[in-house]
Subunit: 210 residues, 2 copies
């Protein structure tokens, strides 16, 4: 079972790594991290680099495609070569998925037109500009396309997908192995729940370019 997680400069690494640590555990899973240019790929914060060991062009098909997001996802909406690769691989997949603003890439590739989908709370307008119907759920499964909300939602998405790919026991075993029994110490993990001062803090931070 070939699982492709394309990476790119400006990726949010948890978007990729959350699903990776679930899906890599499934029977016969082979996970690859291809990039337009192989080698070290810097993340959006500039502190971390993931190694891309393959070119996108090394693959023309996959069982599962997981498209992560991050600040670098936005310019990819204009990257014809990248989008063509997404379309080509999507034609072969059992499941095509996105985490966070990875949905903008699926959208720009034309895969979400008329479809219910989700994304990071800060990218709702961008998602709808691609003809998707924003749906305020953490994981949205429609046909063989799964989109998920911001960053950490990729873990939930991958568990939903794991059950469909490999059954209930393998999916639950993956959850146990990563001890995903979340206990957030506070409850500000969605825009609807976060206090206004927390939202304001994020807006101000973005205005400072962080």
């Amino acid at each position: 079972m070939r699982i492709l997680i394309p990476v790119f400069p400006g990726i949010t690494t948890l978007d990729a790594i959350g699903p990776y640590e679930v899906l890599r555990q499934l029977p016969d899973a082979e996970v690859f991290f291809p990039a337009a240019v192989p080698g070290p790929v810097p993340d959006g914060a500039g502190s971390l680099r993931l190694m891309a060991t393959h070119r996108l062009a090394d693959f023309s098909s996959a069982d599962v495609l997981v498209v992560p997001g991050g600040p670098g996802a936005r310019p990819l909406q204009e990257d014809r070569a990248f989008l063509d690769w997404i379309v080509r691989v999507h034609a072969t997949t059992r499941w095509t998925t996105s985490v966070c603003t990875g949905s903008l890439i699926l959208g720009a590739a034309g895969l979400l037109r008329g479809l219910d989908a989700t994304t990071h709370f800060g990218a709702v307008e961008g998602l709808e500009a691609h003809g998707a119907r924003y749906t305020e759920e953490r994981v949205v499964v429609r046909g063989r396309v799964i989109t998920s909300a911001g960053v950490s939602s990729g873990i939930d998405m991958a568990l939903v997908l794991a059950e469909r790919l490999s059954g209930a026991v393998a999916a639950r075993a993956a959850q146990l192995q990563i001890e995903y029994d979340p206990r957030p110490p506070f409850d500000s993990g969605s825009y609807a729940k976060a206090p206004q001062e927390v939202r304001d803090y994020l807006v101000a931070r973005r205005a400072r370019g962080r």
Copy 2:
């Protein structure tokens, strides 16, 4: 604020990336991923490599030390140079933390003797062999040492730490930015909760060396 996340061959990448995506957001955070040997560092599954851009020896102090785990953490319990570095940096930190079997490294470095601590459910005996008292909580804060349970618990740990480092609003903003509003589709994320057939599945998989 200098945050060090040492990486090593055989790391479980989510142990490092979960805390990274929270802590990097804090005011004045500077995160580094040093390794004994800089360059690409392969993870425990062999599918992914993180780039280590610094040597351990490049740093002799930190505000925060986050020690991740993974299969590669076990041999580090015998690696005197690595353990000496941990001890040296720990002497300077405000907070010394571990995720998953990173606790075995803190234990081997002598930092958990007589202390309540936690780890991955598969490493409890190894933790206690270092004189720690295993505590079945997801995040255990004792003095300036924080240990957390398996893999994904590093996100919860980092949020607990974020509040202590930077206050309630910054910590909640970090949670919102990664949309950490978890919705696991099933409830097998701890050994106590997982059905017996799920536990058996993991044991059988390990016996096959996966």
